[in-house]
Symmetry: C2
Subunit: 418 residues, 2 copies
């Protein structure tokens, strides 16, 4: 079987490459996912899956505690799900990938057209090639190989191409609420072929630090919010140290800061010769795989209250902490989970080497699948982590076909074969 | 003479108050100085001074090394100068005040209409009441008292109501270039009746601190420009310490930081979950009364080059220092200057107490008068320093008349009397 699948992949190398090129050439930034979803739905129908294509209902989603999106209508932005029914008595699996891509950014920073899908030296270039249309093509090839080789699985394979992963996960949440659940899930996000049974979650925060204005020539009569914000940043570093000291999970052994707290934005004052009376900090708080978002929030807020022990200024002028914008729910699969064992075994079989098994430094829709959908999830995919969201994004085509082969073999062992 | 002048002031209390009210009711923000300048020119003509009213020539000014203004045309924004010719053989003096006011800011922060000139409990409220239309009225009353009491001075009194002090001093520079110079000058800026023979200068700077971007989930792969900017701010504090340690002038004895370096604005990063790759700092560097702007610039730039000794990051990524926007030239009068002695004596005479003699924590047009015009200058005025540029700006009318009396007596002793 292993050899048959490898041979099938070899024969379908051109077809798979063309499919990825076709998907990359459709710039599926938020609101423009429709064309690519039609391509995928067409392919799934060709493979005789039961296909549903629908636009998530913003009105229904908006009250869900896990909902986040900058938009409330998903008109023109459909999800696609295709179910390959098993013969019964096998374990089901969700294969989940997102079709949306982040904008290409400044074109001058690209050395190729970001929506060309140009192939060079075994790499296919373009926005979304790595994150994560290459992963979607691996999923498609795996399903197609099983179909065309006449393999009959026992469990259902639920193929999902969702919108909105880059903006908070509304596409996957909509699929969960439509009733799609399974015994386990696999998401081929760009992991550099590493296996991530755990994914870090994250939340965005905004902290407002107060000062007291004065003329810059008599700055000693005021209190600089910029100087106070330096204490706040230092204090946040200490919280990060404490939180990370508590992470003993061996999956994070090679990660210098498993759950970082990043300060991404600082903004304060409005006049060079005035003492600034406000500074705004915005950042991203990493949330451990087994942690709840709520727990992390409470910890941050409690820690900020302790600022007053360092500087009495904060007694009368406590910092305000606000949670805003996107958040990604952490995800965690039992390290003894059978899907994980099967995936690692097929990796070894296919590539004759040990897989790297780690916890991811970023969130995926896996948190929603497990927390909202009760479907434990592993993340494993062919894309190049480093170039996701960057100019000159690319994928190595060899990895896409290797991942397809490993996913196909994993489906056979997980779902069972007649 | 002292008693006659005091009695004259008592009798002209209502007239002086109405004149200030009239000037405050004309919102002389940049570009709208014309109406108030016409009132002052009219009053000076009434007092038989030789009056010149002209719009400064932006084309002529723009190449002058001391020129700074956000605008290049002063159409509709005249200067007014009135000369009260002396009988000869006396010392001349410039009385200089600026008619322009800073904008009123948010109206909700005012408890009175900012251009009402409302009088309550001996205070007259309004934008410009303190900074510095009250000082201009003190100058006017002093000249009027001398005229109406029939006092004939020997030296010339050159009365100047200039534009643009709040935006870089182009009005005073234009008066200097028109040829108005004198043996000394007095500017009644709001000093709380303190005498400032020296004035701190200042310049605005912008510093760009570089980092290296990365995803916030793997922030250890990047270099935070926010963290690097904390080192830069600390480094600037040390420069401030060093520069102030060198200030031994007894006029600064009661000032905790004679020449502060204020960081007024910070701005960096643009995405909460990215490591920020740039931070911009903007601030105001105080310049000592006897120091040259150029010297302070060289010191700052040299100091910034030393950052690399603290952190090798700055070796490959030096900070960029830029000088932009406004700068005020420092001013300094010899502590033994005769005008200073006379002014202090008349203060004692009029108020029966010792004057406070200090160095100012901010610049005035005095730096231009002395540096560009060769006219040594002292700053002494009735306004309330603390409310300048603030909502609910006011002046205490008693101080305005006291200052008028002291200025009148100073003119008599400085210029000499027939």
């Amino acid at each position: 079987m292993k050899h048959e699948i490898r041979e099938w992949m070899r024969q379908h190398r051109e077809e798979g490459t063309l499919m990825l090129q076709r998907l990359v050439r459709i710039p599926t930034i938020q609101g423009y996912e429709k064309g690519a979803q039609a391509v995928i739905a067409g392919k799934l129908r060709e493979l005789k899956l039961d296909v549903e294509l629908w636009e998530p209902d913003g009105g229904e989603l908006k009250d869900h505690p896990y909902f986040y999106s900058p938009r409330s209508s998903f008109s023109g932005s459909p999800n696609v799900v295709g179910v390959m029914r098993g013969s019964g008595r096998g374990r089901s699996i969700i294969l989940n990938g997102h079709i949306d891509v982040v904008p290409e950014g400044e074109r001058e920073q690209w050395s190729v057209d970001p929506f060309s899908g140009k192939v060079e030296d075994g790499k296919l270039f373009g926005r979304g090639a790595t994150d994560m249309k290459g992963g979607i093509v691996s999923m498609l090839l795996a399903v197609q190989a099983i179909r065309e080789l006449g393999i009959r699985l026992r469990g259902d394979v639920i193929f999902q191409s969702v919108i909105e992963e880059e903006s908070g996960g509304a596409g996957t949440l909509a699929a969960v609420l439509r009733g799609f659940k399974a015994d386990a899930a696999l998401i081929p996000e760009p992991t550099n072929m590493r296996i991530f049974p755990k994914q870090q979650g994250s939340m965005w925060f905004r902290i407002e630090v107060k000062g007291r204005s004065a003329h810059g020539g008599t700055r000693y009569e005021g209190v600089s919010a910029i100087e106070k914000s330096m204490l706040v940043i230092q204090h946040i570093r200490e919280l990060e140290d404490r939180r990370n000291a508590g992470i003993t999970d061996p999956l994070y052994a090679r990660n210098p800061i498993p759950i970082p707290i990043n300060i991404g934005v600082i903004e304060g004052g409005n006049w060079p010769s005035s003492v600034p009376d406000t500074v705004k900090l915005e950042g991203r708080m990493g949330v451990a795989p087994e942690e709840k978002l709520e727990h992390a929030k409470v910890e941050m807020i409690g820690w900020m209250e302790r600022l007053k022990d360092k500087d009495p200024w904060f007694e009368a002028h406590p910092v305000a902490v606000e949670w805003f914008g996107a958040r990604w729910i952490p995800g965690s699969m039992d390290p003894e989970h059978e899907l994980l064992r099967i995936l690692a075994d097929q990796y070894r079989e296919a590539l004759s080497c040990e897989p790297v098994i780690e916890a991811s430094p970023w969130g995926t829709d896996g948190g929603l699948l497990s927390e909202a959908g009760g479907t434990p999830c592993v993340v494993f995919g062919p894309g190049v982590t480093q170039v996701a969201h960057y100019p000159n994004e690319y994928i190595e085509l060899d990895r896409m076909f290797e991942a397809a082969e490993i996913i196909a073999l994993t489906l056979i062992h997980w779902c069972g074969m007649e």
